[in-house]
């Protein structure tokens, strides 16, 4: 079957079986490999994307259900929030193996978009839909705080 939607601002049409996941379509049909498989059960968040601005686990999303929608992935996020976050993650060395980090990045982007200077507790709560196994949580939280500080400076 054929499904048309928008990925990172570009219209796309993919040919897949019904009940094929958005995750596999992004990775294997569209070559967007920053969205990663972790569990296939909506538990870990490695596959996190935005659909019409809302966070979703793409492993649990059927391609046909995204018809006509706007999908954004880690590699496609643009603008001051994405830039501040990307730079901050790099500068503080956020993450360790960084397999989880692209999914965390999407969750943090969504948080900073609606709350540009979140409290540490709000960061922890927002990132709780993502798992990290290396114990790099603290460095990731520092990265989100640093990005928040950058955005605050830009606002002034």
């Amino acid at each position: 079957m054929s499904t048309s939607f928008t990925v990172n601002g570009e219209p796309v049409t993919v040919e897949t079986d019904s009940n094929s996941t958005l995750l596999l379509a992004l990775r294997n049909e569209l070559g967007l490999r920053a969205t990663r498989f972790g569990c296939g059960a909506e538990d870990c968040g490695a596959c996190t994307v935005l659909i019409d601005g809302h966070l979703h686990y793409s492993c649990g999303q059927f391609v046909e259900d995204t018809a006509g929608k706007q999908v954004e992935t880690a590699e496609g996020l643009r603008g001051p929030v994405a830039n501040a976050l990307r730079d901050a993650f790099f500068e503080v060395g956020a993450g360790q193996c960084r397999y989880c980090l692209s999914g965390v990045f999407v969750s943090a982007y969504e948080l900073l978009t609606r709350d540009p200077q979140p409290e540490r507790g709000a960061i922890r709560a927002a990132l709780s839909r993502n798992l990290c196994r290396c114990g790099a949580h603290a460095s990731i939280i520092r990265g989100v705080e640093k990005a928040g500080a950058t955005l605050a400076r830009q606002e002034r």
């Binding site: 596999l24 960084r98 114990g135």
Partner: protein, 699 residues
């Protein structure tokens, strides 16, 4: 406490050209057998090489863990790469610089000592010579062996070592393909193997035809207990695998159903060895024994990315891509399975998700190789499911540690410790076995070797002997016939042994009526050990009063009693469950090559150990593993992470030591002691779940 001798240099090639390649002008390529596991080792090794060569990091490139290009190095295991490979790379780089300088001096007709090197160029009295590393290369013999006599740069002249260079290629991981999972080769098929429900299960019957007819299925491979599927796409494979389990009929062994992991550990026979005995037959002192038994369950690796491997059968051998820690051992086992020479196999390391020991990486690569035999010339990619990870990867052994101690006049005068454990290492090739799931399902000749533990002071005995000064008797009870697949998981036996020792230190301190920090210091003469404990107490506000319901605790160990020193302080709040409110760590790893890298490793170890301590136990029914998803094996979440601070004490005069595993045991000790301080009662069994807190409160 014994001082450690510097680690001996590893048995590997001393031909300089096996370590360095300068064939690309402007670049020096370091070739290493060590692999990046997310721990930042490649960055650290490049810092060491660039330092000796006076190069910028941007002038260095690296090839790592490629059995076709890298010099042989033993696996990237046991936090040993900085201790063993680091000095070797340093010597090789220093020798390379010496040969380059000699060649340039010959051309300029000056003495080598008159030349300095900078960014790949040569200077004489501040004047830049026309030659560079790459123009004199023709006069340099890279074939000759090096003997380790080239003079090493002095620490006070370091520019790169001791600075926090960012980890390599970290940006790509946010923006696209970066892991083995992301490799797509032309014509690649997707495969997966049905894991046996139990190590001793046998396949009675399998309905292959219905699977073969499914859309996209290219082959169904059935060989004795091995069932695998090859499909055109991941989606086709996922759909086929949903039906494969139901198509298989297994006979399973009669089992100790209902028995817990610890009951199995205690009921099976053990081989006992005395590791140390200062007590002779002496009985405990007059004050009587304080006694407790501390336990740790089966623990999993739980990497966020599942195990993944790629293989292609070639007319003259095979190529594999793997995130293995031991690429050379994997190559040798692949050769054994194919019946060819090791040189006919090329294994290339590609990064996987975080690696904390012997996980399923080698199994996945071997799965791909075994399935690849059905489709010679076509690459086969195998990516495990989350359930495969939870039930088939090697696990960290359960342990039970009994400690009995006596205190007289503020000092421990008697200490007995018995540590009981299954094996801690069963890597590919160990003890003569292939030790991988796929081959074991296929042939009697490919069964895993009998489980053995590592020599004394490693494996289950790691940190079983206490570093504190008191007379001690330490016994190891090794249980060889555990019905679980056990192998190396971060810090091996040190996690449970240090948890037990540090818990008993607090229990005896309480009997003595002495503050736990002061009590530890009273049993330590090593200035470096004392310094990490004192700093941890200072930065954590040790002497500040805790609010009601809160407790502070400390844990300390020197890893292996010869490596890095680490002290951890935990602040917890206990209601019905335990909440972490603060964690502080201090390490002394000698010369700090990359301080941020050290902090990341120690901080990560502390958080991972907090997760093990509070949440983790692999669920079982007898010797069957029952987890289906993360919900059956919860780990610490972002919401549960407290503020955390890690400090480094670094003296460049001390040799650098590994940091990957040092903070795990001290963290369990610190949390256990903090919980005991908050509750007024001690929880001796890990994990310290809500149920165990409630049971302790009711007792």
């Amino acid at each position: 406490m014994a001082t450690a001798a510097p680690a001996p240099l590893p048995a590997t090639s001393r031909r300089l050209g096996d370590w360095f390649d300068l064939s690309t002008p402007g670049k020096v390529l370091l070739k290493t057998g060590k692999v990046e596991l997310g721990q930042g080792i490649l960055t650290a090794l490049l810092q060491i090489a660039a330092e000796e060569l006076d190069l910028e990091l941007t002038q260095m490139e690296v090839v790592s863990g490629d059995t076709g290009l890298s010099p042989f190095e033993a696996g990237t295991v046991g936090s040993m790469s900085i201790e063993t490979s680091g000095p070797f790379v340093r010597q090789a780089a220093s020798e390379l610089r010496r040969r380059l300088v000699n060649a340039a001096a010959m051309r300029a007709q000056v003495q080598p000592n008159d030349l300095a090197t900078m960014a790949g160029g040569f200077t004489r009295d501040g004047e830049v010579l026309p030659d560079t590393f790459w123009t004199v290369l023709g006069d340099v013999n890279l074939d000759a062996a090096f003997d380790g006599t080239a003079p090493l740069k002095r620490h006070e002249h370091y520019r790169l070592v001791g600075t926090s260079a960012p980890a390599l290629a970290s940006k790509a991981k946010l923006t696209g393909a970066a892991f083995i999972h992301d490799i797509a080769l032309p014509g690649m098929l997707h495969g997966r193997v049905l894991r046996k429900p139990h190590a001793e299960a046998h396949l009675e019957q399998f309905e292959a035809e219905s699977i073969r007819r499914r859309k996209g299925v290219v082959a169904v491979v059935v060989e004795r207990d091995f069932v695998g599927v090859l499909a055109q796409t991941e989606h086709d494979l996922d759909k086929a695998m949903e039906k494969v389990a139901a198509a298989a009929n297994w006979s399973v062994p009669p089992d100790e159903r209902n028995n817990t992991v610890l009951e199995i550990l205690r009921s099976r026979p053990s081989v006992d060895a005395v590791l140390r005995d200062d007590l002779g037959g002496e009985a405990a002192g007059a004050s009587g024994l304080v006694e407790a038994t501390f336990t740790k369950p089966l623990i999993g690796h739980g990497s966020i990315g599942p195990s993944c491997g790629i293989a292609v059968i070639r007319p003259d051998g095979a190529e594999l891509w793997s995130h293995s820690q031991t690429v050379f051992a994997l190559r040798d086992q692949a050769a054994r399975v194919l019946g060819c020479a090791p040189e006919q196999i090329r294994v290339r390391h590609v990064q996987g998700a975080g690696c904390y020991g012997h996980n399923g990486a080698d199994d996945a690569a071997m799965d791909a190789l075994l399935l690849g035999r059905a489709v010679p010339g076509r690459p086969v990619r195998v990516q495990w499911s989350r359930r495969d990870e939870l039930i088939a990867e090697p696990l960290g052994s359960p342990m039970s540690v009994r400690v009995a101690a006596a205190v007289t006049e503020g000092r421990i005068v008697h200490w007995e410790l018995e540590t009981r454990s299954g094996a801690h290492v069963q890597r590919p090739g160990w003890n003569g076995g292939i030790n991988l799931l796929g081959p074991a399902a296929i042939s009697d000749d490919w069964q895993p070797a009998a489980q053995r533990d590592l020599p004394a002071h490693n494996g289950g005995t790691k940190n079983a002997v206490s570093a504190y000064a008191f007379p001690q008797r330490v016994v190891h009870q090794f249980v060889p016939a555990m019905p679980f697949r056990l192998s190396a998981l971060r810090s091996l036996g040190a996690f449970a042994n240090v948890f037990a020792i540090e818990s008993m230190m607090d229990q005896t301190a309480e009997v003595a009526g002495i503050d736990p920090v002061a009590f530890r210091l009273a049993h330590l003469t090593d200035a470096r050990a004392r310094a990490v404990i004192e700093r941890a107490a200072a930065i954590s506000g040790w002497n500040e009063p805790s609010p009601e319901g809160f407790g502070r605790g400390i844990g300390f160990a020197r890893f292996k009693n010869s490596g890095t020193y680490c002290a951890v302080v935990a602040l917890v709040e206990v209601e019905e469950q335990i909440s972490l409110r603060g964690l502080w760590g201090v390490v002394d790893a000698g010369l700090a090559i990359n301080p941020d890298g050290i902090i990341a490793q120690v901080e990560g170890g502390i958080i991972q150990a907090a997760s093990w301590t509070l949440k983790e136990a692999v669920p079982t029914d007898g010797s069957f593993l029952t987890a289906e998803s993360w919900r059956d094996y919860p780990i610490l979440s972002f919401a549960e992470i407290p503020d955390i601070q890690v400090d480094i004490i670094s003296d460049p005069a001390n040799e650098p030591t590994g940091v990957g595993e040092v903070s795990l045991g001290p963290t369990a000790g610190a949390i256990g002691n903090a919980v005991a301080a908050a509750l007024g009662a001690r929880i001796c069994d890990l994990p310290m779940t809500r149920d165990r807190v409630i049971a302790t409160l009711m007792a």
